[in-house]
């Protein structure tokens, strides 16, 4: 084989590219070409997301440092006032803060899609004969890993601060699983914004406007009974409230069937509405 021992581009000679080995590679294999199925293509894109985390580990900052900050801040800020003590409050707060942190983290999906799609690599993905939503699904699969990391971090900090869930490991895992399912569906809102809005900054701005009311106007921090009626109407019907109630129930060892059903219903609705809208925008972009 020719000179493959050069590191710098300029050092390989004009005949650096070996025409013979190239020609041998180009001989098309007889028979039909392989095609990747929907699952294989999505998994490959998920692998791409993992590789990006491996090469740019700083992007895990938002799922490690941020949640730790949230747990510490809100536990000590509200604990004494709302529940008499931080130990009492954290039993109530921790599942909520887990939900809030991860729901807030989903927002970054839209931003990274917006940044990524502006680069040429999507032109190649789009000319491949693969299931169209695979790049998006792959993204979200990678994000599932990030959310799992965030959940592990928050639960660890919680346990250190005195969180003692009655549901045990099974209840806690069930809660996390439900949260991941909802996050996957909810993320399609952000993929839509990521494709719809022109710049990274506008995606960030719009996402904040959606995420702040949605996560704070819920039962994450306090029981909605103290809120005015009109606000209760919103809070009690918010998907975040249902999700939070379900996760709290599961971790406490209960069977919050109604809230689980509401959460899954919302997840299905979000997926059915924002999934197709995302794919339409993707085809146009």
């Amino acid at each position: 084989m020719s000179t493959a021992t050069k590191t710098e581009d300029r050092s390989d000679g004009p005949a650096g590219v070996s025409t013979e080995s190239l020609t041998a590679l180009l001989v098309a294999p007889a028979g039909k070409r392989p095609r990747a199925g929907a699952a294989a293509a999505s998994t490959a894109f998920g692998w791409r997301a993992m590789l990006k985390i491996k090469h740019v580990p700083e992007q895990l900052f938002d799922v490690t440092a941020m949640p730790i900050m949230f747990v510490l801040m809100f536990t000590y800020l509200f604990g004494g006032a709302l529940a008499g003590s931080t130990e009492e409050y954290i039993q109530f707060l921790l599942p909520g803060i887990l939900v809030m942190s991860i729901i807030m983290t989903t927002m970054y999906t839209g931003i990274s899609i917006n940044v990524d799609i502006a680069k040429g690599v999507f032109d190649r993905f789009k000319t491949l004969p693969i299931w169209r939503p695979a790049p998006m699904v792959g993204y979200l699969l990678g994000d599932m890993l990030r959310y799992t990391v965030a959940a592990a971090v928050i639960l660890t900090v919680g346990l250190i601060l005195g969180f003692r869930p009655d549901g045990g490991p099974v209840g806690v895992l069930a809660g996390v699983a439900l949260l991941l399912v909802f996050s996957f569906a909810f993320s399609w809102v952000w993929t839509m914004f990521g494709l719809l809005l022109r710049t990274e900054k506008t995606v960030m701005g719009v996402s904040m406007m959606v995420i702040f009311p949605l996560s704070f106007l819920s039962n994450v921090f306090v029981d909605p009974k103290t809120m005015p009626g009109w606000l209760q109407a919103f809070v009690n019907n918010s998907p975040v409230t249902h999700l939070c109630e379900a996760v709290r129930g599961l971790m406490a060892g209960g069977r919050p069937s109604a809230d689980i059903a509401w959460t899954l219903g919302w997840a299905g609705l979000l997926l059915l509405v924002f999934g197709p809208v995302t794919m339409r925008l993707y085809a146009r972009r």
């Binding site: 493959a4 050069k6 025409t19 990747a36 040429g120 000319t127 695979a134």
Partner: protein, 335 residues
């Protein structure tokens, strides 16, 4: 489709793409045969990239139709995608990933198993002299390395039709030669290549047939010989020692070159003249050397002198009767 269409790699009829009120592609009709390098030549903004993107299913045409191997690029996009590959003007690579990871990812997306994808990637990296850089992130690659990796990605599964959109723009001459070698090897194996370029030289080196496009329209189409004959054999470029002598030099050249137009360059010392119409170019060399001798006799000192193919500017001048508007940035094809 009709029986005739199976012989063509690409057929377009009245293909149109508009952006606002600008018609980027304005009614292109072309039939591109299989098994050759077909050059699409034009300046920046002529509509080359838009044209290619429609054929590669990346953009939806606003009018007309296009078929690739008899398949409609809109209605049968997936069938088209299975047979074509695109190397865009800007590298379609993931900058955060390494060269090897980029190829393995594509291999898996094309349906290879993990092991097969890895093997194929390693072979490609070796053939393209990128083995040493295989485990470095693409963002650290030079322009030539990126371009090679991008082409490797495009032929990971040998496509029946490869689009190369300005594959050598911005490359140094050595990298450019490497890309040319690769293109020759690819077409040698039976893949049809549609190459866009702003360099006549490049089209000349690689393409069998050429379409010249400007402002979204095809203004000439034919074999290289036909195209060149329509422009003239070549042009001489002179730089004088004394700018004051330029009007004299202009007169001398007009006399010896049988009244061919002489053009005064922006550089006050330089002038360019088209030479002869001899299709083989031999007449041009004779005429040019006679002109040099005449200049010497008139005591006009010449600093540099070159005889070359007509530049793209001159092709446009000949084809349209006025200079290519955006041709200013077009590099002189060669010395």
């Amino acid at each position: 489709m009709t029986a005739g269409s199976s012989a063509a790699a690409i057929e377009t009829e009245g293909l149109v793409k508009t952006y606002g009120d600008k018609r980027a592609v304005d009614g292109i009709d072309l039939v591109i045969p299989q098994g050759m390098v077909y050059g699409v030549l034009g300046p920046n903004g002529a509509g080359k990239t838009t044209f290619v993107k429609m054929l590669a299913t990346l953009l939806r045409p606003d009018g007309g139709q296009a078929r690739v191997f008899g398949r409609d690029v809109v209605r049968e996009a997936d069938e088209v995608r299975a047979r074509v590959s695109l190397t865009g003007q800007y590298a379609s690579l993931d900058e955060d990933l390494t060269g090897a990871e980029n190829l393995v990812l594509l291999g898996r997306l094309l349906g290879h198993g993990k092991k097969a994808a890895r093997e194929r990637a390693a072979q490609m990296l070796q053939a393209f002299v990128l083995t040493e850089a295989a485990d470095r992130q693409v963002k650290t690659y030079s322009g030539g390395m990126r371009r090679r990796l991008d082409i490797a990605a495009s032929i990971l599964n040998t496509p029946d039709l490869l689009f190369l959109d300005e594959p050598t723009t911005g490359l140094d001459p050595r990298s450019r030669n490497q890309v040319w070698e690769i293109v020759r090897a690819i077409v040698g194996q039976g893949t049809t290549v549609l190459l866009t370029t702003q360099y006549l030289d490049e089209a000349d080196q690689l393409a069998s047939r050429i379409a010249v496009i400007d402002s979204g329209k095809v203004i000439a189409e034919g074999t290289k010989g036909e195209l060149k004959a329509s422009v003239g054999a070549g042009s001489v470029h002179l730089r004088l020692r004394d700018a004051a002598q330029r009007p004299d030099a202009e007169r001398v050249l007009e006399l010896c070159l049988d009244g061919m137009p002489v053009q005064l360059d922006p550089d006050p010392f330089a002038l360019t003249a088209r030479v002869g119409a001899g299709a083989d170019g031999s007449g041009a060399a004779e005429l040019a050397s006679r002109a040099l001798a005449e200049l010497a006799r008139a005591h006009i000192a010449v600093d540099t002198f070159s005889l070359g193919q007509p530049s793209l500017d001159e092709v446009f001048l000949a084809l349209t009767g006025d200079g290519a508007g955006s041709g200013r940035s077009v590099q002189e094809a060669m010395a």
